[in-house]
């Protein structure tokens, strides 16, 4: 395996902290500072202007946060310890969201209604989704990044809704749309669109694209999902149409009248211009809107399910880790058939959900090496599934080398492909080495060859059987 020369930095990807307490203190300081900064900005603007900041001024929040993040990273580049800061960040995040909501509804009566609960739920859902992105190797600046993004997305949504004249009742839906699409776009930027193999250099470009997508697609969905917003858009179209009419009328004045009457503008009326109270159904039919609403409800429901699932899995994993740390039960007992079935079912569910999440662009922000590792592991998983489907499932106590012997004795013609995949898997799983892009391409080719050769052979065998039958 001398071809694998690159070596990973540290054993588990963490730098040794100089002190847990100090790390925690610094993290809390950073989060608190960030929170204070956002609140200060908001309250200053509210006092100065006498109302909540508008959309353009709010858009300054994101670059300012990015600068602050950059300063934080330069100031304290080491990684944060995991559990307590995460809990602290979550708590602070909840507090911040509450502050934002209170600021937004300042001066208004706050009934304990469904709408406010929904806004909170929408904001709370953002955290696990955001945390999911950076769960594997959590940096405090990443915590702050998610935190800021959540705040900015929420504020933008609320204020964009207000600017568009959307009633409070529909801002929840618009907020959900913004947040969901924003998180999706951000996760796409972090994971990459082709299996997470983009080098780090393209990260910023992808992030910028994703942020643009947040506003564009979010606005589109909000527009389609909320009839009030649709009215606002209709008004905008009407205004635009008036401007066109006005220009046309000005142009028409330049030409002499050929057949009687004064030139008093175009002789037609634009649709909707005479009716100030036009309905959203003038633009889109109600049935169309209903379909959009139902689709969006399904989307939000699925998103909530994913969040619940992720939280459950994380909680179970955390509990298992705690159990193993406590040294009460450290060894998996011999499983019964029922256990195996249950395990298999849960595992399959998890695999499918993970695949779905990966398809949607969810995933941890991975370094280039990590993504290469993930790709090799994914290829090996495919090999395992393929072999299991073809009657050679792997026993849980078999090592990759032992399983390699089983596979190659069963399919000797596939020896090069199976060996390449097994060798690469062992390197990325058990060593600090990573493989380069060329090697990864070769592995993908090996996997494609393996499948095609197997299919080819099956087709040949079928043809032979057919021939012998004939």
């Amino acid at each position: 395996m001398s071809e694998h020369r690159t070596t990973r930095g540290s054993e588990d990807g963490t730098m040794a902290p100089s002190g847990r307490g100090r790390e925690l203190f610094l993290l809390l300081l950073l989060v608190a500072g960030e929170l204070a900064w956002i609140c200060l900005l908001l309250t200053t603007v509210v006092r100065a202007v006498g109302r909540m900041p508008n959309l353009p001024s709010l858009s300054l929040l994101l670059p300012a946060s990015a600068v602050l993040n950059f300063i934080c990273r330069r100031w304290h580049p080491s990684r944060a310890p995991l559990l307590l800061p995460r809990a602290a960040a979550i708590a602070l995040y909840f507090v911040a969201v509450t502050i934002v909501v209170v600021l937004y509804f300042r001066g208004e009566v706050l009934p304990l209604g469904v709408e406010h609960a929904a806004v909170l739920v929408c904001a709370l859902a953002l955290w696990p989704l955001g945390a999911r992105l950076g769960w594997g190797s959590l940096r405090h600046e990443r915590v702050l990044g998610e935190f800021q993004f959540g705040l900015v997305a929420l504020l933008t949504t609320l204020l964009a809704g207000r600017a568009l004249g959307v009633s409070t009742g529909h801002q929840t839906t618009a907020g959900l749309a913004f947040v969901a699409v924003g998180v999706l776009a951000l996760s796409v930027s972090r994971t990459g669109t082709t299996g997470g193999r983009q080098p780090r250099s393209s990260y910023w470009a992808m992030t910028a694209t994703a942020l643009a997508a947040v506003f564009a697609v979010g606005l589109l969905i909000a527009t389609l999902a909320t009839p009030d917003a649709l009215v606002a858009v209709g008004r905008a179209f009407t205004w635009l149409w008036h401007q066109i009419e006005h220009v046309l009328a000005v142009v028409a004045r330049w030409f002499p009248e050929k057949s009687g009457g004064a030139a008093s503008g175009p002789g037609w009326t634009a649709p909707g211009t005479s009716n100030e109270n036009f309905q959203s159904s003038d633009i889109l039919p109600e049935s169309f809107l209903r379909v959009f609403r139902i689709g969006f409800a399904f989307f939000v429901g699925a998103l909530a399910l994913v969040v619940v699932w992720i939280l459950t899995v994380r909680a179970v994993e955390w509990a298992r880790r705690q159990a193993s740390h406590l040294a009460t039960v450290g060894v998996e007992r011999l499983s019964t058939n029922r256990d195996r079935r249950a395990y298999s079912w849960v595992h399959q569910m998890r695999t499918h959900l993970a695949r779905l999440a990966a398809l949607l662009g969810f995933g941890k922000k991975e370094s280039f090496e990590q993504s290469q590792t993930a790709s090799v592991r994914s290829l090996y998983r495919k090999l395992l599934r393929w072999a299991a489907a073809n009657g050679a499932p792997k026993d849980r106590s078999q090592t990759p080398l032992e399983y390699h012997s089983v596979l190659t004795s069963r399919w000797p013609q596939l020896l090069p492909e199976i060996s390449a995949l097994t060798r690469a898997y062992m390197v990325v799983r058990y060593s600090r080495h990573v493989i380069d892009e060329n090697e990864l391409e070769e592995l993908e080719r090996a996997w494609t060859n393996l499948r095609s050769r197997k299919r080819h052979r099956a087709a040949e065998a079928e043809a032979q059987n057919g021939g012998s039958c004939n």
Binding site: M1, S2, H4, R5, T7, S10, E11, D12, A16, G330, V331, E332, L334, H347, R377, Y380, R381, L384, K394, R396, S397, Q398, T399, P400, L401, E402, Y403, Y425, M426, R429, Y430, S431, R432, H433
Partner: protein, 322 residues
């Protein structure tokens, strides 16, 4: 964190190991696995207990290992009247100078063959095993370090128990490996006859590496990378021995440490700078079996420690993708 050993270095260990094993192959027929594990024990700074019947080449193996490493070799034939001072050395009064001078015992060597260790009295055994653990001897309040590298190859006969003092579990725990040489196959025995017909191949055996190089390799082996998943796997294996229903006393945490050192050395011997689960499976029986105490009823049913280890290896899942 200490820098991990890189592949070229691991390759160097492999080449040295190959030369060593080829040397041993010139003398011993078909004992490559045992020789490899003895080398692993040396590189992992452990000691070896060879448990087998007489005449299987235990002494020859120890001598060959010593000759291949160009190390100093001593042999201690244990008997019930062997005293600790016979092993460690004594202070002798020098009449000419009027002072006491230390006369080192046979333990003061790089490779020590302790033949039939279970025939020595517990007192002598404990002196010996203390030296193995601490790598130093204390005679009349004077402490002397043992030479480096230091490897004890002890033997015991599993058949004869009369006049013996079986090693207690605490002392067995100090051996990294318990190995069995086993009878050679027919072809191997024929090859042995032809090889030893004219002369003893040990006489002309050149060394493959020096003690100093072996010492350096020990340091390199410690730096072989063990992935967290493999570490968890090793811990799971050891813990499984403690929870097995047929086991009264499972392997100790010292066994876990020994297992890790052994797999690091084995990986380096095989030219890798990282450990595979296969390495763990390979050395687990030799590392863990002698450290377990099986329940009486299980022993009466004919259960052996090796069987339990293989059962545990079948039971504990290997860290691979699901």
């Amino acid at each position: 964190m200490e820098e991990a050993v890189t592949e070229p270095v691991a390759e160097r260990v492999r080449q040295t190991a190959e030369a060593f094993l080829a040397n041993v192959d010139r003398v011993l027929v078909g004992k490559r696995m045992v020789a490899e594990l003895v080398l692993v024990a040396l590189l992992a700074e452990g000691h070896v207990l060879i448990e087998d019947v007489p005449g299987l080449g235990k002494t020859l193996l120890a001598k060959t290992v010593a000759r291949s490493l160009a190390c100093e070799f001593r042999r201690i034939q244990c008997t019930p009247d062997l005293l600790p001072s016979d092993v460690t050395g004594v202070q002798v009064f020098d009449q000419s100078s009027g002072t006491f001078s230390f006369r080192p015992g046979p333990l003061m060597a790089n490779i020590v063959l302790v033949d039939e260790i279970n025939r020595a009295t517990p007192r002598t055994q404990s002196a010996l095993l203390e030296a193995m653990q601490e790598r130093q001897v204390t005679v009349d309040s004077e402490t002397m370090a043992l030479p480096k590298p230091f490897l004890v190859i002890a033997t015991q006969n599993p058949i004869e128990f009369e006049g013996t003092f079986p090693l207690p579990e605490a002392q067995l725990d100090r051996f990294l490996f318990r190995l069995r040489v086993g009878y050679p196959a027919q072809e191997e025995e024929e090859e042995m006859l032809s090889r030893f017909r004219e002369h003893d191949p040990l006489e002309n055996l050149a060394y493959a590496t020096t003690a100093q190089q072996a010492l350096e390799l020990q340091g390199l082996c410690r730096r072989v990378y063990v992935a967290p998943a493999v570490r968890n796997y090793m811990v799971a294996l050891v813990r499984a021995t403690r929870e097995h229903p047929d086991v009264k006393l499972g392997a100790s945490p010292r066994a876990t440490l020994g297992l890790q050192q052994a797999v690091q050395a084995l990986a380096a011997v095989r030219g890798r700078d990282f450990v595979l689960p296969d390495d763990v499976k390979y050395v687990a029986p030799a590392t863990l079996a002698h450290r377990m105490v099986i329940k009486t009823e299980a022993r009466l049913r004919g259960r052996t420690a090796e069987e339990i280890i293989s059962e545990v290896l079948r039971m504990v899942p290997v860290p691979v993708e699901d």
